[in-house]
Symmetry: C2
Subunit: 168 residues, 2 copies
C-alpha cells in the first residue's frame, strides 16, 4: 500500500464513518484530510484533493470551525486563508463532546424538565411522568460526568481515569 492509497483509504473511511454519526460525508472527509495534512490547506487545495465544489468546501469548513476542531491559519505574504485541524486527537474528542453536550444534551434536558413540570393528571399520566423523570435523572448524571471530563486536563484523563477503569 503506497502513501496515496493509504491516505485515500483513511479519508474515505472517516467519511463513511461520519455519516453513521449524523455528520455529512464531505465534512468528515475535509476533517480527515486536514488531520493527515502536514501543512495547512486552502479552500482551493481541499477542492482539488476531494473533488468537491467551492461552495461545499466553504460551508463545511465553516462548520468545522464552529465545532472548534479546525482553525484558520494565515500564511505570511499570502492573501488567502488556510485551514488546519487540531492535531491532538484527545483535544479533538473533548471538543466534540463539549459541543455535542451544549448543542444536544442541553435542549433535551430542557424538554424533559418542561415535561416534568407539566401537570398531567390523566389516566396513564403517572407512567409517562415516571419515564420522563428517569430519563431526566440519567441525562443529568451524564451531563455532570461530561462536565467533569471536559474540565479535567489531559493527564487526568489518560492517567487517573484510565487507571480507575483498568483497576476495576
Amino acid at each position: 500500500m503506497d502513501l496515496k492509497e493509504a491516505q485515500e483509504k483513511f479519508i474515505s473511511t472517516w467519511g463513511a464513518f461520519g455519516t453513521q454519526w449524523g455528520i455529512n460525508r464531505t465534512m468528515a472527509q475535509i476533517h480527515a484530510l486536514l488531520l493527515i495534512s502536514e501543512e495547512a490547506l486552502s479552500a482551493e487545495d481541499i477542492m482539488k484533493k476531494l473533488n468537491v465544489s467551492r461552495g461545499n468546501v466553504n460551508m463545511n469548513v465553516r462548520d468545522l470551525l464552529s465545532w472548534g476542531i479546525v482553525h484558520k491559519v494565515l500564511k505570511f505574504g499570502e492573501r488567502k486563508e488556510f485551514f488546519a485541524a487540531e492535531k491532538d486527537i484527545y483535544k479533538t474528542a473533548m471538543q466534540i463532546m463539549k459541543e455535542r453536550r451544549k448543542r444536544e444534551l442541553g435542549p433535551v434536558l430542557e424538554l424533559l424538565e418542561d415535561l416534568k413540570l407539566a401537570e398531567i393528571n390523566e389516566q396513564g399520566g403517572d407512567h409517562f411522568s415516571k419515564v420522563v423523570s428517569e430519563i431526566h435523572t440519567f441525562g443529568e448524571s451524564t451531563n455532570k460526568m461530561l462536565d467533569k471530563m471536559i474540565k479535567a486536563d489531559e493527564h487526568w484523563f489518560t492517567g487517573s481515569l484510565m487507571k480507575f477503569f483498568v483497576k476495576k
Copy 2:
C-alpha cells in the same frame, strides 16, 4: 399541557434528536413511543399512532430488535406480535454503547491497524503514520474504557464512577 400533547412532544423531539446521531426519525420515534407506552404495542398500533406504513414499522422495529433495546412480547391468546422497549434507561444506554462499539469502533480500529502495518516509506509518510498511530492509541483506550463500563453493573456506574467524578 395535556398528556397527549406531552407525549407527542416527547416523541417528536426524540425523533429529531435521533437524526442528529445518524438514527432515522421513524426508528427514534418508535423507540420513544414504546418507552412511554405502558403496554406492549403491535405493528398495527404503531402504524396508527405514528401514521407510518406497515413496511416502515416492520423495518424499524426489526432494527430496534437488532440493537437489543426493544423486545418481542407474546400475549396469551393473541396471534400477533407485540413490542416493548427496555424501560431501564441505564440498560438502554449501555446496550447502545455496546452495539455502537461493536459495529463502529471495531471496524475503525481494524482500518487503523491495517494502515499502521502498511509500509510507507515515502516523503510525508512519517507524518501520516504518526497521526494514524495516535488515533489508534486513543481508539484503543476508548475501547477498553467502554468495555469496562459495559461489563460493570449498574450500581458500580451510578455509585463508584459517579463518586469518582464528583470527587474530582
